[in-house]
Amino acid sequence: MKARVFITLKPGVLDPQGEAVRHSLGTLGFDGIKGVRQGKVIELELAETDAATATTRVRAMCEQLLANTVIEDYALEIAE
């Protein structure tokens, strides 16, 4: 099965890259953008077939490596 991990900066953590993207969009004429936050998506192919077990394992992966929980939040999606 497949897992998708969405990693985003915690609220309140300044995101200079997102701010640069917002500024650049403004330069292109896209106005009205109140904020941009940049994150990342990590896709995993798992041998596991049980969704609950997969969720537990991917959560552990996030805690131990995929996210820096000092500054980042993560969300999961598990699909067949």
């Binding site: 953590v13 300044l14 200079p16 890259q17 640069a20 131990q64 490596l65 995929l66 820096n68 000092v70 500054i71």
Partner: protein, 223 residues
């Protein structure tokens, strides 16, 4: 003083750090590859060098911090060992949890490489005892991700426990409270973004970095 320097794929300041340690101590450091699972016996200090370990993939220092040798490094710290991380080494130490906070992309999004003035904030550590508190020193920085981030509570703790080792006189990268280097709670782990090993010889334009290595030798030989 017996030192070891950890080498990761992408480390590029490992030899400079080894030269600085050897000049100060008279002993050539052991160079330790990241796949090793244990450290040589009897080390007084572990140096974690600058560079771009594992290409800065995922986050700066994230992959290196989970490499086999880093388990041994964390254990060395638990037993009270001294560890010195420079630049990418500082990032690796925050990723292992041995130092608090994290290093984010520079506020101006630019890679910055220049000599910069620092204030020595504490002389109360094995790394900084040869400096005077409040001393102005000049040391190079060379980083893209040196913007030290800590929440207000952590900054207050670092200040009240005298754990901020160095601050920038003019903040180049957006670091909270201008922090350039921090100490662990037991004061035996130091991480800093500037590179003292790069201004370690007057022939190279300055030697303000040499006093850090001299401090280490004075403190760790006696220990």
């Amino acid at each position: 003083m017996k030192a070891g320097v950890i080498v990761f794929p992408g480390s590029n300041c490992d030899r400079d750090l080894a030269v600085a340690l050897e000049r100060a101590s008279g002993h050539r450091p052991a160079m330790i590859w990241h796949k090793e699972v244990s450290l040589p016996r009897g080390l007084d200090l572990i140096g974690i060098p600058g560079g771009f370990s594992f290409g800065d993939y995922l986050r700066c220092g994230a992959i290196a911090a989970r490499s086999p040798i880093c388990r041994a490094v964390v254990e060395f710290a638990r037993q009270g060992g001294h560890i010195f991380g420079v630049c990418n080494g500082f990032q690796i130490l925050t990723e292992t949890g041995l130092l608090p906070g994290t290093l984010m992309r520079n506020a101006n999004l630019k890679y910055i490489c220049k000599d910069i003035d620092l204030t020595v904030e504490t002389s109360n550590s094995a790394f900084t005892s040869a400096y005077r508190r409040g001393q102005n020193i000049r040391i190079p920085i060379a980083h893209h991700d040196g913007n030290y981030l800590a929440d207000d509570a952590l900054v207050a703790d670092l200040q009240s426990q005298d754990r901020i080792a160095f601050t920038y006189r003019e903040n180049p990268n957006g670091s909270v409270a201008g922090i350039a280097g921090v100490l662990s709670e037991n004061r035996r782990v130091l991480g800093m973004m500037p590179h003292p090993e790069r201004l370690n010889d007057p022939a190279l334009g300055g030697a303000d970095g040499a006093m850090l290595f001299r401090s280490l030798v004075e403190n760790l030989v006696a220990a």
